[in-house]
């Protein structure tokens, strides 16, 4: 394997001839394979997913609970708003002294501003939810 600039150099031959004798195993391979097994076990342990601490789980659950409560509250207020509006409508019709208050569906083009407002509201709500997640 060795390459020499002086193929017939006696010094090269001398150095090669005086190379140390190969070392006997003397249990080295066995000890090394034991160390390899230990290293492999340590690596396998590191690879395993680190368990989540209970306090972290509790905090996540509490945050999720708060978010759920906020959504339920919002839903309840929305339903209450619709019910109150309908009740106001019924009351206004029922209490009008000379039946001058009537219920009439508006023309389709009169719905456009309300649709636009609702669309903006929906986009804003979706944006806020996406930021929260």
């Amino acid at each position: 394997m060795n390459e020499s600039d002086f193929p017939d150099d006696p010094l090269d031959a001398l150095l090669l001839a005086n190379a140390p004798e190969p070392l006997p195993d003397g249990g080295f391979v066995g000890r090394t394979m034991t160390a390899v097994d230990q290293a492999e076990r340590a690596r396998a342990t590191q690879r395993r997913t680190t368990p989540v601490a209970p306090i972290v789980i509790a905090r996540a659950l509490a945050a999720e609970h708060r978010r759920h409560e906020a959504q339920a509250r919002l839903w309840r207020w929305a339903v209450a708003g619709v019910v109150a509006g309908f009740a106001l409508l019924v009351a206004a019709v029922a209490l009008s002294p000379d039946d001058s208050v009537t219920v009439a569906a508006p023309a389709p083009q009169q719905w456009y501003p309300l649709c636009l407002l609702l669309a903006f509201g929906a986009v804003w709500y979706a944006w806020r939810e996406s930021r929260r997640n």
Binding site: M1, N2, E3, D5, D9, P10, L11, D12, A13, L14, L15, L16, N18, A19, P20, P22, L23, P24, D25, F28, V29, R31, T32, M33, A35, V36, D37, A39, E40, R43
Partner: protein
Amino acid sequence: MQFDATAHAQAQIAGWLARARQGDRPAFARLVQSHQSRVRLQLRRLTQGDAALADDLAQETFVQAWLHLNDFRGDARLATWLHRIALTRFLQHVRRPQLPLEWNAPEASAADEPGHDPRAAEGLTRDVERALQSLSEIQRLAVVHCFHLDLSHAEAAQVLGLPLGTLKSHLDRAKSRLRELLGAWNPESAT
């Protein structure tokens, strides 16, 4: 015939390597068995003959090799890769970033004394060893890696992290120095 034996050994090592990469520990044990001597010899040289420390570092070398076996691309011989890991482990142990490239002035030794005959009682091997000790560290490592660890110049340069030209330069200077120190040795009478 010798070529056949070398090719057979290389094929065997390639087979063990392929199996070891798939997690076959007995195959890796065969690789350790076939390379332990040269890695331990390299580390004994690096640790100035501290056999216990050399064996510890050699063990760490093989553990590192096992853990990073899939990083071995096969561009070089496995032995070259192992020697490189061993050298890196040694440098980490002594907390040195790299080998010193400067000339270390050798301490005066009996071999330097004028009129010293290397064929005297202590024997030729002892004289060669003493002459090697008088080289600078990098020159000694260049000689050891090229002549004692069966590495080509290119492989030794790769292990030591030196450009090939620099390694050859160190080797030439080392051999000039060795010729001076072993000048009284007569190869004709020794063979």
